[in-house]
């Protein structure tokens, strides 16, 4: 794909872009940040696949974007504000009813402080 883009559209790319790849150690670090327990047998597979994806997205660094403003959103919308008034009824019970573990109106989690 990278090859394909370069041949077809050389005018939109700068001369070079870095080849990025992630080591199994970096995958372990990213999984930790993302709060995902990593199955050790899958670490290498993830490292390979994610490196391929990063190679694909690495093409972006070769795009000529000097002076271009980042676009966060279509239509460059701004978040609408509403009046600071109560608009919803209390639905505590409905929301607690779908929680995995609750007691006395509180969400239960494993002990945090010994």
């Amino acid at each position: 794909m990278a090859q394909f883009i370069r041949i077809a559209y050389p005018h939109i790319l700068n001369d070079s872009y870095p080849k990025m790849s992630l080591s199994p150690e970096q995958i372990r670090q990213v999984a930790k940040l993302a709060r995902l327990e990593l199955n050790p047998s899958l670490t290498d597979a993830y490292a390979g696949q994610i490196s391929n994806i990063l190679e694909l997205v690495g093409q972006l660094s070769a795009a000529k974007t000097e002076g271009v403003g980042p676009m966060a959103h279509p239509l460059d919308m701004t978040q609408r504000l509403r009046a600071d008034e109560v608009s919803q009824p209390d639905q505590r019970e409905a929301f607690q009813a779908i929680a995995p573990a609750v007691q006395d109106g509180l969400y239960l989690v494993p002990k945090v402080i010994e």
Partner: protein, 485 residues
Amino acid sequence: MHNLSLKQLAEGLRSGKFSSRELTQHYLKRIEAFDPQLNSYITVTADQALAAADAADARLARGEGGPLTGIPLGQKDIFCTSGVRTSCASRMLDKFISPYDATIVKKLQAEAGMPMLGKLNMDEFAMGSSNETSWYGPVKNPWDVTRVPGGSSGGSVAAVAAGLAPVATATDTGGSIRQPAALTNLTGIKPTYGRVSRFGMIAFASSLDQAGVVARSAEDAAQVLQAMSGFDPLDSTSLDRPVDDLIAPLGRSIQGLRVGLPKEYFADGLDAGVRACIDGAIAELKKLGASFTEVSLPNSPLSVPTYYVVAPAEASSNLARFDGVRYGHRAEGVTALEDLYSRSRAEGFGPEVQRRIMIGTYVLSHGYYDAYYLQAQKVRRLIYDDFRRVFEQVDVILGPTATDVAFKLGSKTDDPVSMYLNDIYTIAANLAGIPAMSLPCGFKDGLPVGLQLMGNFFDEAKLLNVAHQYQQVTGWHQQSPKGFE
């Protein structure tokens, strides 16, 4: 009954030829008979559907209701439905019963009076282009059950194509309405970003996600999109502007329509058989009075890499809410809070979702943010500017929806990058926020080929008008898959 248009179904209901209960039962029987082959429904809601059909019959008997009252539909399982499981095709939400309805569920069901047949299968959290990442198993393409229906709205298209629902809702973050519609001979439209409320639609990538519809014709799609659209104070990115009439303009002539053909969409990589179908459609539209010019969207080849930074980045933050505490899957036998989060998430999310969360986490992490995320946002603007420039010269842009017809189940599951390239023609419209649709334009080796139309902001009516006029002189959209009669 399952070959009738929505307009014909409405006439049948009003003239008393059949009731909504009979119509709904007809579809429920078809689901029972045919869905084991397709796996298009995750949950069938027969009792609720029949109760809603009775309510619709009562409304019709009083002379009330609108053009959709009493016509059943399928809902993609990404939309929250009060009292009914909303799984997003993930183990994470396998037992999640939403405490509220999505705005489009309220609009189509409570207000328009459409009984819901059930919740439709999809790629897990809408992440996929083949409907193979679902926790509930892959959906099969009714045109060839050894092939994928496309994704992420694979259940929506398989159900409508096989006559297991007259019409279905769908969502499109990078092509998830248009690519599956193309692969199953349906008409699917993704409106302008913000046109349809996202309230109660489980978030994947919030700046790209948009709800729409898959149907058997542009006219059917127009009717349902009309009922779904509109401002919603509960969605902070909803467009506060009146909804255009999508129905009346369908019949307009397209004489003088200026159509742009982006050269990048006809370059290497497009299958020759697909190309031939697109050329056939161009010839038909010329006969209807449209004129064609070559245009260029020079940055569009960068839309796939841009998307695979922006979408995973937004997904990694959106999916941070799934922590095993307030709702969703919770790992058993965990004694530390940190482990509760990481084990619940590892068990609840499938491999594709985990990959995307990790990519998103990486591109947003310290030291990489500028190189990836900020750069992707800049390229996003270049892609958007390309469209703005081209729409100064033409009314609509035309090209293929997908590079090829439906591929074999399992053929791309081990190679994420090759799977991602399925969306090479569809992603740019999401990045820019413009409306786009796919409609049937022929067959290659017995498999459907889709034609893509892209319009300027808010031009849904124009796209549907062009598609409807094309469908008045062609019969591709009337073809149905064999074995589901």
